[in-house]
């Protein structure tokens, strides 16, 4: 038995209704008010959150990467995603709880989110703190963790690194339905991590269409990879 903190739906509403945060870059999350909307959730299994190590890694990464540049921002994600996954040792049942990610984003990692997404035109920063139950790519902490969860292979985070190196790739994988079959998510990252966005789109579309006849869950990672390579050749 373990306990985790989650933000309630009312807490989410409070952030939405807050005029200053996060639209004003200087404003912090209204943590004092939000405290009232933090609930404790009991989890059957052991959950280990090594926040100290995670904060240390975030600080170090923010010191190394220049978040003013697009390619450095994706590298920041690529460097941090495996660390988030390792330090937040929770089962998927917990990870599927959006309130868990909202709590972490607002109470623990708001400075990271601000540095990664804040102050840029056309970016809805609020969704990087909140996100919804259904999508994996909005809430930034959830995005890092789930990207790693879907592409890590034992202790090997190579595919995770590759996935986060291309924003288009990570967005596509986190938005697809084949992501739920981990060998497919890994094969996808492995095969396409060096490709242009247009190629990624075209391959993904053909691959998705092929799954109306192919039973994805019976295919191995190698088989999926071979298929993706064939498609890449075809669309190229």
């Amino acid at each position: 038995m373990s306990e985790i903190s989650v933000l309630s739906e009312a807490g989410r509403d409070l952030v939405v209704e807050d005029d200053a945060f996060p639209s004003d870059p200087e404003a912090d999350p209204p943590r004092e008010e939000l405290e009232r909307h933090v609930q404790t959730l009991e989890v059957a299994s052991d959950v280990e959150l090594d926040l100290a190590r995670l904060h240390e890694a975030v600080e170090r990464a923010l010191g190394v990467f220049d978040t003013g540049r697009q390619e450095q921002r994706t590298s920041l994600d690529s460097a941090l995603a495996p660390v988030f996954h390792q330090c937040l040792d929770v089962p998927t049942r917990v990870a599927s709880h959006i309130g868990f990610w909202q709590y972490l984003a607002l109470f623990e990692f708001s400075h990271l989110i601000d540095a990664r997404w804040g102050g840029r035109d056309g970016i809805d920063v609020e969704e990087k703190y909140l996100g919804t139950q259904k999508d994996l790519y909005s809430n930034h902490v959830a995005r890092l963790w789930w990207g790693a969860e879907l592409t890590f292979d034992g202790d090997d985070y190579l595919a995770t690194h590759r996935l986060f190196e291309r924003q288009r790739l990570v967005n596509y994988v986190l938005d697809s339905s084949f992501r739920r079959y981990r060998p497919a998510a890994i094969a996808f990252a492995e095969t396409l991590w060096t490709e242009q966005s247009s190629t990624i789109d075209a391959v993904a579309s053909r691959f998705n269409d092929s799954l109306s006849t192919i039973q994805l869950e019976t295919r191995s990672r190698t088989e999926v990879r071979n298929q993706l390579e064939k498609i890449r050749e075809h669309v190229g």
Binding site: E9, E42, N208, S212
Partner: protein, 663 residues
């Protein structure tokens, strides 16, 4: 060979004390009470070892064996004498001051051809220990005094000692036989020992100056002992006499283990049929045993068997009273750690109910206990569907939802308290309130507080031990000084309710949804657009639109027209799309050609699809068409599947019909 006889002591006539029926109090008892009290006696007298007390209910209908039984019982023949039972029974029915109509009915209905005898064997119990005259031991207490009770410890089920009178109330002839192997045998005797006792209205002696009293004893015909004791002593097995007699009287011991076999002669349920249905009785024994003694069963302190008429015997299980199962689940977990919240069905939580045991009254009790502020354990289970099924499967209304079973160290359920009025954000539940010595985990000694609470609650129980009663309980008040009534009442009232509410209550905050409100205003799913063309669709299809893959292209066809003949121009748009992994639509498959099979129909391409334009005077149109090839040059069919070119596909048809003279 020893002989036996009945002996009813006599007194000078006119002493009205004897013109009452000692069993009258027990006469309104039902079978459940009978089972409770019988089991409680056995459970209390369990030997201090790791084995359970074992109780067997054995109901026999005697026919061929009846003459031998009656002979052994000294029932009596034509040549009647006061050493035989029948002589006394017949006279007892003539007592106008203490009528026992049940006795009369029994005699009238008894044709000496058939008799029901219920024998209750208990094993691994103390048995009837004690000499003929030592009233402090169980034997002496049984044969001598109905007002006292001799049981091993303070947690025993009885306080008033009238428990055993229930046995006689269930005998049509008010006669009960005991055959016992005491765990400490009398030094100069060989067990078992056999004795009988009859409780009848007082009746006339042969000489009018004297009257026979209520009590008759059946035992060894030993003039010297009868003279000394005023009754016959128990018959021992020194020369095998007791064993032989016991066998013909249906009270032979099932094993060598200590314990008592009690024979209820002419078994009947007071106020019911003289000839009860044995299989129905058997089910009732089973149900009552489980309903009240499942805690002892859970702790392996008691096992109960019922012997069937064919000689087999089966153990009583929870299945015999399925409604106890959710309570058992609670109690099973009584000594585990628990949450203080019940978030899911089937979850078990625990809390406590405070109680103050008043100080014992030093004038009545030696070494009185001080006042103790202590608490009872309340274990609550939120019902799962399986629990609900178990409760529903039980006809007993006491075993229902939102009920609290209460017990103390005797491991018998005292009562089931209905708490269904409690509704503070609650879901259906059952609970067990564990009090006194029952709160000590198995294998551990009860604390002083627990012992004091045990004693307090035990003294609060009336004869039947079926409630804890503080008000109008002079017996209880005699032992204590301090708050009594309120403390007893709190365990069924406000304090119990508050503790339950604390456990089952759910916190609600702004933004949480209100449960079960969907049926108030369901989200209606918008308008039915007649996707399948059924019902009142504007188009009637003679041949429903279909698509098929021919190995290279998708082909399609269909035939239909407006349902309503009064129509203007109409159009049919056709579109082919690929379906993807989620069977949702993906990219379009361009239509290559379409051939209207009907004259006068024009068509136009509309992106990748095609639209048929039909004049007002045409009522139906048939069409055929095909897509562009989906497999490109140099790509094999097998590859085309891998590349997602050949996929599941969907033909979409949408028609618009202008009505009411749209020309």
């Amino acid at each position: 060979m020893s002989s036996t006889k009945w002996e009813f002591p006599d007194q000078e006539s006119g002493l009205t004390d004897y013109h009452s029926i000692p069993t009258a109090e027990a006469l309104d008892r039902d079978l459940e009470t009978f089972v409770r009290e019988v089991l409680q006696n056995a459970n209390d007298q369990r030997l201090d070892n790791d084995d359970p007390a074992r109780v067997t209910f054995d109901l026999r209908r005697l026919t061929d064996e009846l003459p031998e039984f009656l002979g052994s019982l000294e029932w009596g023949d034509e040549m009647q004498s006061p050493s035989q039972l029948r002589w006394h029974v017949e006279r007892a029915t003539e007592n106008d001051q203490a009528r026992d109509p049940g006795l009369r009915r029994f005699l009238n209905g008894f044709d000496e051809e058939e008799l029901l005898v219920l024998t209750i064997h208990d094993e691994n119990t103390t048995g009837l220990v004690g000499s003929e005259t030592d009233n402090s031991e169980p034997y002496g207490a049984l044969v001598k005094d109905f007002g006292g009770s001799q049981k091993p410890d303070s947690s025993s089920g009885g306080s008033f000692g009238l428990g055993k009178t229930v046995l006689w109330a269930f005998s049509g002839v008010s006669t009960v036989l005991f055959n016992s192997v005491p765990h400490q045998p009398e030094s100069d005797h060989e067990p078992p020992r056999l004795v009988g006792r009859s409780i009848l209205p007082a009746h006339e002696h042969r000489t009018p100056e004297r009257t026979f009293t209520n009590h008759g004893w059946f035992g060894e015909d030993d003039e010297e002992e009868i003279e000394r004791l005023g009754r016959p002593p128990s018959l021992w097995d020194d020369d095998g006499a007791a064993s032989d007699l016991a066998e013909s009287l249906c009270v032979d011991r099932p094993s060598d283990r200590p314990g008592t076999s009690i024979g209820v002669v002419g078994f009947r349920v007071p106020g019911e049929d003289l000839q009860p249905d044995p299989s129905e009785l058997s089910a009732q024994f089973r149900h009552a045993a489980v309903k009240h003694f499942w805690p002892a069963m859970v702790r392996d302190e008691l096992e109960v068997f019922v012997r069937t008429p064919d000689g087999g015997q089966t153990q009583v299980t929870y299945d015999d009273a399925p409604g106890v199962r959710p309570f058992v689940e609670c109690y099973d977990a009584a000594f585990a750690d628990h949450d203080s919240e019940l978030s899911a069905p089937g979850e078990i939580g625990a809390t406590t109910v405070e109680v103050t045991v008043p100080a014992e009254n030093g004038e009545v009790v030696d070494d009185p206990t001080p006042e103790y502020e202590t608490e009872c354990d309340l274990i609550v289970r939120r019902l799962s569907p399986t629990d609900a099924e178990s409760l529903d499967a039980d006809d007993d209304s006491a075993l229902s939802r939102n009920t609290v079973a209460r017990l103390r160290g005797a491991q018998m359920i005292v009562d089931y308290v209905d708490e269904s009025s409690l509704g503070d954000r609650a879901s259906d539940f059952v609970a067990v309130l564990v009090c006194g010595e029952a709160q000590a985990a198995p294998g551990t000694e009860p604390s002083d507080e627990q012992r004091a609470l045990e004693q307090f609650l035990k003294r609060s129980e009336p004869t039947q031990h079926d409630e804890w009663k503080g008000s109008k309980n002079d017996y209880l008040k005699k032992f204590y000084s301090g708050t009594i009534v309120k403390e007893v009442a709190a365990l069924a009232g406000d304090r119990l309710e508050a503790a339950l509410a604390e456990l089952v209550r759910e916190e609600v905050e702004s933004g949480d949804s209100v449960p079960d409100m969907d049926d108030v205003a369901p989200v209606t799913e918008g308008r039915d657009t007649n996707e399948n063309g059924g019902g009142k669709s504007a188009i009637e299809w003679d041949e429903r639109p279909e698509t098929e893959f021919d190995g290279r292209r998708w082909t399609f066809s269909g035939e239909g027209g407006p349902r309503d003949d009064d129509h203007g121009e109409w159009t049919v748009a056709l579109e082919l799309v690929r379906l993807d992994s989620d069977e949702s639509t993906s990219d379009a498959i361009p239509v290559d050609s379409v051939t209207p099979q009907t004259a006068g129909v024009g068509f136009s391409t509309d992106g990748d699809g095609v639209e048929l334009d039909v004049p007002a005077d045409t009522d139906t149109v048939a069409f055929e068409g095909e897509s562009e090839p989906v497999v490109g040059e140099g790509v094999s069919v097998s590859e085309a599947f891998e590349l997602g070119l050949i996929t599941q596909a969907k033909l979409r048809v949408s028609a618009e019909v202008s009505t009411g003279g749209g020309e």
